[in-house]
């Protein structure tokens, strides 16, 4: 899956991410599902409580981690594709 800069991404309905002190890791809670996201996913998911455009997300991460936007964009696309396929993140696309 590829994303346009103005595609907006947001946590799917009913998804919550929290730290679990018993298991000592982050957990993703959704209807009838519990997942254990990797630290990178946790980092991204934490930014998607409100809809964010793909472009803004890339720019933000590139600045924060001082890395080339192109590289960040590629990594982010792979990660988000996976999260979307798992229905953890929803894409809002402007009608073509």
């Amino acid at each position: 899956m590829s994303f346009a800069p103005d595609d907006r991404l947001v946590l799917a309905r009913g998804v919550r991410v929290r730290f679990d002190p018993v298991r000592n890791c982050h957990v993703l809670l959704a209807p009838e599902r519990v997942l254990f996201p990797c630290p990178t996913s946790v980092e991204i998911l934490g930014r998607l409580g409100e809809p964010r455009s793909f472009g803004a997300l890339v720019a933000e991460l590139a600045a924060e981690f001082d890395a080339p936007a192109e590289e960040i964009g590629r990594d982010l696309e792979a990660l988000l594709s996976d999260l979307v396929a798992q229905r953890v993140v929803r894409v809002e696309r402007r009608a073509a």
């Binding site: 799917a12 009913g14 957990v27 809670l29 229905r87």
Partner: protein, 371 residues
Amino acid sequence: MSALAPAPWREPPIGLLAELTHRCPLGCPYCSNPLELVARERELSTAQWLRVLEEAAELGVLQLHLSGGEPTLRSDLEEIVARARALELYSNLITAGVGVSERRLEALARAGLDHVQLSVQDVDPEGCDRIGGFTGSLARKIAFARAVRRLGLPLTVNAVVHRHNLDRLERFVELALELDADRLEVAHVQYYGWALLNRAALMPTRAQLDRSVEIVKRARERYGDRLLIDFVVPDYYATHPKPCTSGWGRAVIVVAPDGRALPCHAAHTIPGLVFANVKDAPLRWIWQESPAFQRFRGFDWMKEPCRSCPRREIDFGGCRCQAMQLLGDPEATDPACALSPHHARITALAEAEAAAAPPPFRYRRLEPVPA
């Protein structure tokens, strides 16, 4: 305690199924509640439930399923939901949605409810009334579902399917889409409790089952991006058994309305097990050490063919309660498994029941059933 007691179980549970009450305005003939229901006077108090939630969160429970009976009949549900939210438990309300006003739902949403699962007995109004034994149920359910979505809560439509409503499965999918549900659960009846009593009245034919598999497959292809569809096949026609409750004492704790804690809601049908009550024992001890929870953990209790089967890590030999019910031996391979020597007999039984005219329903009632 015996010197030979197995080591305490250190893995934390994922979910707590809180059966707040057995009272229910409906009387579904496949209800998973036990035949002997708990009367209102014996239900846990608010304070007792709040304590159970606290103990559960400390133990590592992440999701709380508020179930019954009909959990909204408890007037303290808001308080229970609020406590769950404070403890960061993900709360899921499992309801029949017939007697819940929008005001009540709003209060629950405000208390922090995370998700609503609504049972729909049939998409045909008459069928819905007949299965639940409640007049005017479908219209109320639809109004309830709309209120859920108006409040922005995620919604699962739970469709328990059997010989009487399977031919309308496409319309269940349409209804779920129309209600803007996030999930649709298509669950063939599991034959425990009241469902076992009504098995002949509910058992679908193999042709009905095969069609349902096709319909779900097509619906997933078509609507997969909008609607998540979960599908539970009927055991009697299965090849492999289901990993019941993800394995005995591995993922879930069920607490009955009177406080008895069980590894699954049919566990009381296994003779010889003693279930501790949350009123008398800490939940941590019940989960980690009580003999009933330890009884079928690991693989040492298994007999052949499970003992040497590579799938034992996946399905844990299937359901203990079903082995008990159908074979009288809780350690036997679940006869839903094609490798069980009894599998052919069970399948033949299902086929014979499905081919015969359905007997009348025996509705779930609070009064004990005559034998």
